[in-house]
Amino acid sequence: MSAIQSCRLLLAALILISVTPANAQKLDGVVTDAVGESIPGVQIFLQGTSIGTVTDKAGRFEFNTLELSSYTVVFKFIGFRTASHRVDLTKGDITLNIALVQEAIEIAEVTVTAEGTTQSFLTRAPVAVSTLSPEELSDVRGQSLGETLAHLPGITTLTTGPTISKPVVRGLHSDRLVIMNAGVRQEGQQWGGEHAPEIDPFSPDRIEVVRGAAGVEYGVGAIGGVIRIEPRELPDRPGYGGQLLINGFSNSGQGSGSLHVEGSPQSIQGLGWRVQTSGRAAGDAHTPDYVLGNTAFRELNGSGAVGFHNSRFGVESFVSHFSTELGIFRGSHINTIEGLLAAIELGRPAVAYDFGYDIDVPKQEVAHTVLALKGHWQPGAAGSVLEVKYGLQRNSRKEYDAHRIGGRPSDRPAFDLTLLSQSVDVKYRTNPTGNAFAVFGASGLTQGNENGSLGYLIPNFRALTGGLFARGLWSKGTVNLEAGTRFDYRWMRAFPREFQGTGSFEKDVRRFNSLSGVASAIWQFLPSWSAAVNLGTAWRPPNMSELYSFGLHHGTAQFEIGDRALGAERSMSIDGTLRHASGRANLEVGIYVNRFADFIYLFPEAEPTITIRGVFPTFSYRQTDARLAGIDGLVEYSLTKFLKAGVSGSMVRARDTGNDIDLINMPADRLHLHAAFQLPDRGAFNSSEVELGSLHVTKQTRFPAGVDYADPPDGYNLIEIDLRTSINVGTTHVDVGLSVKNIFNTSYRDYLSRYRYFVDEPGRTAILRVRLPLGTYNDR
């Protein structure tokens, strides 16, 4: 069908060319950047036709013999946001002078345009990208980052009950993903499967997930993808405004809210500020049949930003603090193999818990503070930019154990880690010449980790990392090419115990360095279709847990042993992405093969470990070769003006090729269908919509035999409904939304839930959302 549509467009273009204009009209103008420097080489074409030209050395362009008609003129130049302008030539010649807006440096890699033009969607990145726009985000406010991303193609979540969820991109998570928050790489204790990203779910205005190796700008670890979290841009027009968001969740009795105020003073043009705070508090979650004891949580966050910019300069400082206290389901913290097997056999909690908001041990207390300073400067000619960023982050993680000799759990945490990180990034983008430009960058990171308490799961360490990269982009006509390379060096000095878990501390220094690289092509082979191919190679050094851990892992009742001799892990990937965008339909499908050399994983040892609490199955970190391949994508189609439907899905096939077995804990295939009906405006109710969604997840049938305590759970199907409307109250409008998830209160378990051995997932929940704009808050 889409092919037919494209043929029609082509046909239409041919007809246009063959028609000789009866009354020739002239369209001309000059293209400049924001400072007024003229830009030569800008591609200009009339949408829906094959008519096009480029600007000359003085930035001038001219169309001489146009038909007496109206056109959409599209201006495209590498490094700048694509602009489009509607002109009506029926009334005579027109002169159109355009100033193009520059893209931020890193955005050139994954083009973000709020307006989401067809053109920029088709050429936005050489690999598949999942995005959540401000509108889409407002429908999922109050949920954690992992839950927020869960419906996007290629993304699943690894959960530890209702309180902890981590994003999984194409089967990879934790240290194989990079999270960029407000332009700074998030540095926390992400090695643990039960360590959720320390992100305020109310702060992002836009989220993008780059699926697959994401080029050379993000440094080591960007093997599986990049999650980019962007706060709202600072206001630059005089005025004050803000918004208040309030949510309630029926299942866990969660209440949450966020207040955001921003402004820009009249007296200083270009100065903007923003303060924001949010909080969430929830009680124990309910499955359809019982309460999940001790799954309450509390979260309090705040952030502030102030920035100034004029046409050539910009500076911005950003401060944020995230803090949470969250309970771990008591029945999952089992320290003996007999107890674990008994709990799996029972299949439900042994204790009938009462609902409450109390948080008892086992629990986590996590805090994360970020200070970021950013500056950019445009030294002269159009397009060149120097950007400097400094980031200071402090991550504190305290985990309280339920197990203590003598019966009473200690008031002191079982482990207490403080990670201090400081980073400096410098990037320079050259002035685009011809059809190409280059970006050069250098970055440095220093980290210190302190373990201030009883356990010594992760040793104290110091780490220094430095990197240099260069990448070049070339664009002409319908083809964009890109190539880049990066060198990184990491030095780590850890203080593990001499004899694994025991003995006195000693120094262990490891050094790693390697190259990563990317080469890609995007070809817009039809006006509404594009195809991209991306070849990439990336690496990551082993993390502290893989190198030094030695001890019993609570909740999984397995003894884990690190290996100090582990080397780096490397991936080599090939990605293909097909995109289509027209007035009615949007499509993005990605297909990939990601081969790993020295993939780090937990190997089940034949010999168990005999401890004071009995005998435990033992796993040690080893390296093997692996292959992850799959397909994921999204199709959206407007059937009528009022009815929109879409499908997104993902499939991963993961194999340990070294041992010729399947990889454990890989997401099952999933398909999400949704349809949205727009309701007519009635009285004070505007932009009302009803959306129905259905998520189908299959049973995972590919897993290594004889390693896990229980086989993967059955597949499941969940239905949800969402109603939203905007109510006029006086001069303002209040957005109200009501959604019900898991409408039929289905009992189910997910293979990527760490609680799947013991209990079901939470049941039905109704969510009420209210959004109140304040002052002169500009929605979009």
Partner: protein
């Protein structure tokens, strides 16, 4: 004009901010904080030694067997419990943290209602060697810090003695749960094992 001077002021400010952040970054990056741990850091409440002391009820002679664990709880060594065929011993248990010099036995005695020691004799000795007469807690329920080990055989034999130190959680219904706990698989959320260790048993003629 006034606006222009403000603009210039902020432009200068912007330049300085960039330079300042670069300078800070470089200073901090070169700064060297060792992060070396305190040698005493990471000490835990652990049991490192379990000692079983046996007193022959007839002769009064005393023997003992010791199991040793490292700080991570991994078994380092375990001695064999040796008795003569046909003898009766009164046995007492001791739990020590040798690193901190703590006697964990006292902590168990202080919270005796929440604890119970369960014993099981395994191997061929199981048919003739029994454990009886465990001491009791404040509620009169079994505790098991001391007990009687009786062998009724006349020939040499061997086997094992499994020792489980169980503690009852806050959710447990005491004393019912403790009395009804048969020592089999623990009930998660009610009871859990602090210790699960097996001593070899040797019976000589």
């Amino acid at each position: 004009m006034k606006n222009d001077s403000k603009l210039n002021y902020f432009t200068t400010l912007a330049k300085h901010a960039i330079l300042f952040s670069l300078a800070i970054g470089l200073i901090v990056l070169s700064g060297c904080d060792s992060n070396e741990p305190d040698p005493d850091a990471g000490e835990q409440e652990v049991i490192t030694d379990i000692i079983m002391t046996l007193t022959n009820e007839t002769t009064g002679s005393v023997t003992s067997a010791r199991a040793e664990f490292d700080e991570a709880g991994v078994l380092q060594s375990v001695e064999t419990v040796s008795i003569q065929a046909g003898t009766t011993h009164s046995v007492s248990m001791e739990f020590l943290n040798e690193i901190e010099g703590d006697d964990i036995t006292e902590e168990i005695e202080e919270e005796d209602e929440f604890h119970q020691l369960v014993y099981a004799v395994g191997g061929s000795a199981a048919a003739r060697t029994t454990i009886t007469n465990r001491d009791t807690d404040g509620n009169g329920n079994p505790l098991g810090l001391s007990f009687t080990l009786t062998d009724t055989g006349a020939t040499a034999s061997s086997g094992t003695i499994n020792v489980t130190l169980r503690h009852y959680e806050e959710d447990a219904q005491l004393p019912d749960d403790k009395v009804n706990d048969d020592g089999g698989s623990e009930i998660p959320g009610i009871v859990e094992n602090d210790v699960d260790v097996t001593f070899p048993l040797s019976i000589t003629v």
